[in-house]
């Protein structure tokens, strides 16, 4: 999930400069180790990217790096559970290249610095072949230089703000053109002529809203207002008053966390209805609906790539297996599905490459597919993102989200939005 570590803030520019040295080092490391060398026989001590992955045994180790404590724990534990489920299924079906997967779990403790430290430990001391996990953008940004420096692989399962790609990260969640832009296309198709933007005051909503404003300008949609509240803000009466008097056709909501509860309660109590002025949210999944109260949010829209209700044999198998393992009342959500998918994508890539070596996996990744619960996903080798089907969902009173529109086919990832004319100034 995106958070206060966007790629366009002054802080991250400094961050990028700071990271330039290790990145260059990693690039040198890449050249030194070459692409064809097997991980196990890479003994080039001149390179910090030398791998210690042991492929001689009949097991192969992977790392699970999720926050098991701290504020993000509740979300990330579900991701860890999904990864564990995929591993269990793969092992039951014979493993990867004949080797059983052995997992090493580490706790990122909701702290970016801990994520970086534990990533280093998993790579250098546990010698895992790949790491799965991370949630917040700041945890990903903190781990990125470690994976590049050590030339290892991270599979990151959460939708994020885009404008990033690394040879050492596979992004299995949506980038903006697979979530936010389809949502805007949907609203435009529904005849929405004006929007009101409400978000939490940090980089993801501000970045997302910059993209939304650029899209709106190019598509004749008026922006009636734009409001940010401090993270954790619980008083939305003024903003709801503003939204009411602005009288836009729809509201685009990038609020995060508890603020959503206060916002939707105020919205409903002020008599604003989904039928008259729908709210489209990008960070409310099945789990969050419970806290807001389905009665306060029924009828409103969300944009994701996966819902528990997706009707496919693959999803039925996934949901049934998850509920059988973890409890019938546990919902499955988009990041969980993306995490589950990421393990299978790694397995399929390894089998295509016939190697566990990072270079071989990077070389083989392009075009690797998996018939995921959300539908067919394909790795795009040029930016390490995956194709994903966009889905607009409607929240119903049973607390589940039902697809009301989907893109029909998987959308090619475009993290830098290069294929959109209106987006060409956004990178600046």
């Amino acid at each position: 999930m995106p958070d206060s570590c966007g790629s366009d803030s002054p802080r991250s520019k400094r961050f990028l400069r700071l990271m330039a040295a290790p990145t260059a080092l990693a690039a040198v490391g890449l050249v030194l180790t070459g692409c064809g060398s097997k991980a196990s026989d890479t003994k080039d001590s001149a390179s910090s990217a030398a791998s210690c992955v042991d492929t001689s045994k009949d097991t192969i180790k992977i790392g699970m790096l999720n926050s098991l404590s701290g504020t993000m724990a509740i979300s990330e534990v579900t991701v860890r559970d999904s990864i564990a489920l995929a591993v269990e299924q793969i092992n039951a079906a014979g493993g990867v290249l004949g080797k059983k997967i052995q997992t090493v779990a580490e706790d990122g403790a909701s702290t970016p610095a801990t994520f970086a430290e534990k990533a280093e430990k998993l790579i250098s001391s546990d010698c895992v072949a790949a790491v799965f996990g991370g949630w917040t953008s700041s945890s990903r940004k903190a781990m990125l230089p470690v994976f590049e420096d050590k030339n290892s692989l991270l599979y990151y399962p959460v939708q994020y703000e885009g404008l990033e790609d690394s040879k050492n990260i596979f992004y299995t969640g949506a980038t903006t053109n697979q979530q936010i832009i389809p949502a805007l296309d949907y609203l435009k198709e529904k005849g929405v002529k004006s929007l009101y933007l409400v978000g939490s005051d940090y980089v993801f909503p501000q970045t997302a809203n910059r993209e939304i404003k650029a899209y709106a300008a190019a598509n004749g949609i008026a922006i009636k207002g734009e409001d940010y509240t401090p993270l954790g803000s619980t008083d939305f009466s003024t903003i709801v008053n503003k939204v009411r008097s602005a009288d836009a056709d729809a509201v685009f909501n990038t609020l995060n966390g508890d603020s959503n509860v206060a916002f939707f309660r105020e919205y409903t109590n002020a008599g604003l209805k989904a039928a008259d002025m729908p709210v489209v949210s990008v960070s409310i999944a099945e789990e969050e609906v419970g806290g807001i109260g389905a009665q306060n949010i029924a009828g409103q829209l969300t944009a994701w790539n996966y819902y528990e209700t997706v009707d496919s044999p693959q999803n039925k198998a996934f949901v049934d297996a998850y509920k059988a393992k973890y409890g019938a009342n546990k919902p499955t959500s988009d990041p969980m599905e993306a995490a589950y998918t990421s393990v299978y994508l790694w397995k399929n890539t390894v089998e295509k490459a016939n190697s566990f070596a990072v270079g071989d996996i990077q070389a083989a990744a392009d075009g690797v597919t998996f018939d995921a619960p959300e539908g067919l996903v394909t790795i795009d080798g040029s930016n390490h993102h995956v194709t994903k089907t966009a889905r607009i969902g409607e929240i119903r009173s049973d607390g589940l989200i039902y697809t009301v529109w989907d893109s029909g086919k998987p959308i090619t990832p475009d993290p830098y939005l290069t294929s959109y004319d209106w987006a060409k100034d956004l990178g600046k």
Binding site: P230, G232, T238, V261, G290, G291
Partner: protein, 294 residues
């Protein structure tokens, strides 16, 4: 015009929320001088009380009133427990009290996370409080009107209790001169515990009421704590009427500034105004020199 009236109601409503959150603190901090950083967690305890009671009584309409009563006792008893075990040992060490109660607050937050889980839980508002009332062209949610009424009831009840009951007289006596009160036969220990019970109980009541408009999670109380302290400091220590005026002034100020700028700017402007105000009048709106407390 209806927008301006709408914002006036928003401000009054915000003021009454601040007042509810700060009322208990105006007793424990304002009267006793205890910096209780766990006050926010007593508010949180009230929120979860509402949730638990609602699980027991499926009818949201009845459970709200039961929760208000139980919330008062839950908050109050937690306060007494804290007072008896920790705070009472450090009445002359205010900075230690600050650290200890801050730690207690963190422990309580994690406890709530362990018991109820980290995501927010859903407390259903009663049917008769859903929707809004149109007043002079502005729509005011009924939940906010309820909170306004509740805040007024709490202030009046507290003022009466301090003025007219034996307990209230003892509380005032101990606040004004602890040694003299003791020499006249008042048990300052019992009075301290009583004051803490009422102050923390009011936090519990605030928590129950806040579930009507906000989320119920482990960090709910924390988000009100700073504002509550501001209200008490601006109002002047030991002054309930100061807290009332400060709460509504902050609420109305915030709502108008937020309407013409943004939520973040409004917070900044309000903080700057508070700093300027405290430069001019560090003792707050009213000083404790007066004999009357309410």
């Amino acid at each position: 015009m209806d927008v301006m009236i709408g914002q006036l109601f928003t401000g009054l409503s915000l003021g009454s929320i601040l007042l509810l959150a700060a009322l208990g603190l105006s007793l424990t901090f304002g009267q006793m001088g205890v910096i209780n950083m766990a006050h926010g967690e007593f508010i949180m305890a009230g929120c979860y009380t509402a949730y638990v009671v609602q699980q027991a009584f499926s009818t949201a309409g009845i459970s709200l009133f039961i929760s208000l009563v139980i919330g008062f006792f839950v908050g109050g008893l937690m306060g007494v427990l804290l007072e008896v075990t920790l705070i009472n040992r450090m009445y002359h060490r205010p900075l230690d009290t600050l650290l200890v109660t801050f730690g207690v607050g963190l422990v309580l937050q994690q406890l709530a996370r362990d018991i109820f889980g980290a995501p927010a839980v859903n407390v259903v508002s009663p049917q008769w409080l859903s929707g809004g009332v149109e007043i002079l062209g502005a729509v005011v949610p009924k939940t906010r009107i309820f909170i306004m009424v509740l805040a007024i009831v709490c202030v009046v009840a507290l003022a009466l209790a301090l003025k007219a009951t034996a307990m209230g007289r003892r509380i005032r006596a101990v606040v004004q001169n602890r040694d003299l009160a003791e020499t006249s036969g008042i048990s300052s220990r019992k009075t301290d515990i009583g004051t803490f019970f009422i102050g923390s109980g009011l936090a519990g009541v605030a928590g129950v009421a806040l579930t009507l408009i906000g989320s119920t999670s482990s960090t709910t109380g924390q988000s009100y704590l700073i504002d509550a302290f501001l209200v008490v400091v601006i109002g002047g220590l030991g002054q309930i009427k100061g807290a009332v005026i400060a709460a509504f002034a902050l609420g109305i100020l915030n709502s108008y500034i937020e309407y013409s700028t943004t939520a973040s700017i409004a917070k900044v402007v309000v903080f700057v105004l508070i700093v300027i105000f405290l430069q001019v009048r560090p003792q707050g709106l009213f000083t404790v020199k007066t004999r009357s407390l309410a």
